[in-house]
């Protein structure tokens, strides 16, 4: 630690010295440019004065040559002072330089933190962008880590927990809830579907079990949309929404749970439905949760015919109002719901 501190001090010192050296060199160049410019200015003045004196009488010529001699003396004097200052500054520079050399010799090799620092030293890789890109990705990873930490702290305050990780939830409480919601009797699910069919005349519900114990509920809402809801017990696991003219079957007749709709409207609604399945999550009352989700989904029966409650228009960004309020089921555009 002490060694590191000493190294850092040395580097700082040498940096100061470099600064000093640069300052000195700058001064030299400044002096040089000043000196030359003075010398240049003198010359035309001298010529000018000589020219004037040519015009006047020849008697004065001797005097004038005398005065020019004096002037050249002056110039020589100036020259000498310039040279003197130049020499002085050069001496300071050489002094500073030797100082820097001495300090530099004391600095040990910089400790490499990783292979990446070696990469930056490789002259062959100078032209490639690998190093800078790696640094950039390190920055991003750090940033992501920071944000993830913040997200954990926010999520741990949230009461709507579905993840079983002990980091997010109190495992004791979760266990009891999961048992009630996830291990529902298949007969209870069948009963729920028949109940839904009776209570919602505008929609058709059908249940199948292509994946074994998990129930897959298909909902056909009027002539507007079709939705698929994968249930784990009585918990909603997966939601997909498609258009009325689309199908949830693959070419070979298998059930297709994964592919999205080809229409932007239903892709958007799928996102909203996924959010809603989290919103209506109630592990203690799973049936009510599904019923309220279905009620919310039925709000889309007027998807193409209801104007936005906020802006009063049908289209926004060429899309109909794709959002339904969780409480009132009023139609809003995605951008109008704030």
């Amino acid at each position: 630690m002490n060694l590191e501190q000493a190294q850092a001090d040395l580097i700082l010192q040498s940096l100061h010295l470099i600064q000093k050296l640069r300052n000195g060199v700058g001064q030299v160049f400044k002096d040089l440019s000043d000196g030359i410019s003075e010398y240049v200015e003198e010359l035309p003045e001298k010529e000018d004065s000589e020219g004037n004196k040519d015009k006047s009488s020849s008697q004065n010529q001797k005097e004038s040559t005398g005065s020019s001699h004096e002037k050249s003396e002056e110039q020589h004097e100036k020259h000498r002072t310039i040279l003197k200052t130049l020499k002085k500054s050069l001496e300071t520079i050489s002094h500073d330089f030797s100082d820097l050399e001495k300090t530099g010799a004391n600095i040990g090799p910089v400790q490499m933190f990783s292979n990446i620092d070696n990469l930056s030293l490789d002259p062959v890789d100078k032209n490639t962008v690998t190093h800078s890109q790696l640094l950039q990705s390190y920055k991003w990873t750090n940033k992501m880590h920071e944000l993830a930490n913040q997200a954990v702290s926010i999520l741990s305050q949230n009461t709507l927990k579905r993840t079983q990780s002990p980091k997010f939830t109190n495992p004791k409480r979760q266990k009891g809830n999961l048992l009630a919601a996830c291990l529902a009797n298949p007969a209870a699910i069948d009963q729920l579907v028949t109940q839904l069919n009776q209570n919602n005349p505008d929609a058709k519900f059908s249940l199948s079990r292509p994946l074994g114990s998990c129930g897959v509920m298909q909902i056909e809402l009027g002539r507007t949309l079709r939705a698929i809801v994968v249930l784990r017990g009585l918990t909603i696991e997966w939601v997909k929404v498609k258009g009325y003219d689309e199908t949830f079957k693959t070419d070979d007749g298998q059930m297709d749970l994964w592919s999205g709709s080809r229409y932007q409207v239903f892709q958007k609604i799928t996102h909203h439905a996924e959010a809603a399945s989290l919103h209506y999550y109630a592990p203690l009352m799973p049936e009510i949760a599904i019923k309220s989700f279905v009620l919310w989904l039925r709000g889309f029966s007027n998807l193409f015919s209801a104007p936005c409650q906020k802006c009063g228009k049908y289209l926004q960004n060429n899309m109909p109002p794709t959002w339904r309020d969780y409480r009132s089921r009023e139609a809003f555009h995605d951008v109008c719901r704030m």
Partner: protein, 205 residues
């Protein structure tokens, strides 16, 4: 497949059809639409030989439904068949004869704007320009009455007041599940209007 509305777009005097089409293209592009290739609709006119009074049969093909052909009688009865139906028609030469001078074509560019498909093109009768048609299709919906207001809003921003009410042939079927044949019926209405206008302007021989 979705609900389509087809409208005639008037060509102001002193301007050519392609100029007007260009203006409409630019307008769609400023609305955010992207070009998605070309489209082509044609309508062949057949006339019965033996029946009196003569009956006409129109056969339409659309690049949107490349495997189908739509045969429509005067009464509005529509038959949707495979394109092989064309071969059958050539075998029925003795009963129905094609009238080449009455063949109509509607060609142009196809645009995609979110879930809307917009087609703008020029109609030609036996090769000569007759007018401009604009078709707007809203793909996700299958019931015209549900999405009419939505379509109207888009049509208003595109072609203005021309689209004040649904096309007449669609108006009576607003609550039915939409089929491609309904689009063809709309095309045929416009084609017939263009033909009539052409016949009126031609001096009687």
């Amino acid at each position: 497949m979705g609900v389509s509305c087809v409208y005639t777009y008037p060509v102001p005097e002193g301007r050519s059809g392609s100029q007007v089409v260009d203006v409409l293209h630019k307008q769609i592009e400023t609305m955010g639409g992207t070009k998605m290739g070309n489209f082509h609709v044609d309508c062949e006119n057949y006339q019965s030989v033996m029946l009196n009074p003569a009956k006409t049969l129109q056969i339409l093909h659309s690049s949107e439904y490349p495997a189908s052909c739509f045969a429509i009688l005067d009464s509005g009865i529509t038959l949707v068949a495979d394109t092989l139906f064309d071969g059958l028609m050539s075998n029925l030469k003795n009963y129905y004869q094609a009238r080449k001078q009455n063949k109509m074509e509607f060609k142009g560019q196809r645009f995609q704007l979110a879930d809307f498909v917009i087609k703008i093109g020029s109609v030609s009768l036996a090769g000569s320009f007759k007018g401009i048609l604009v078709e707007v299709e809203y793909c996700p919906s299958v019931v015209a009455s549900e999405c009419w207001n939505l379509l109207k809003e888009l049509l208003h921003s595109l072609i203005g007041n021309i689209a004040e009410s649904p096309p007449p042939s669609l108006k009576v079927k607003m609550d039915e599940t939409y089929t491609p044949a309904m689009t063809m019926a709309q095309y045929l209405d416009h084609f017939n209007n263009f033909r009539k206008a052409a016949a009126m302007s031609q001096p009687p021989r």
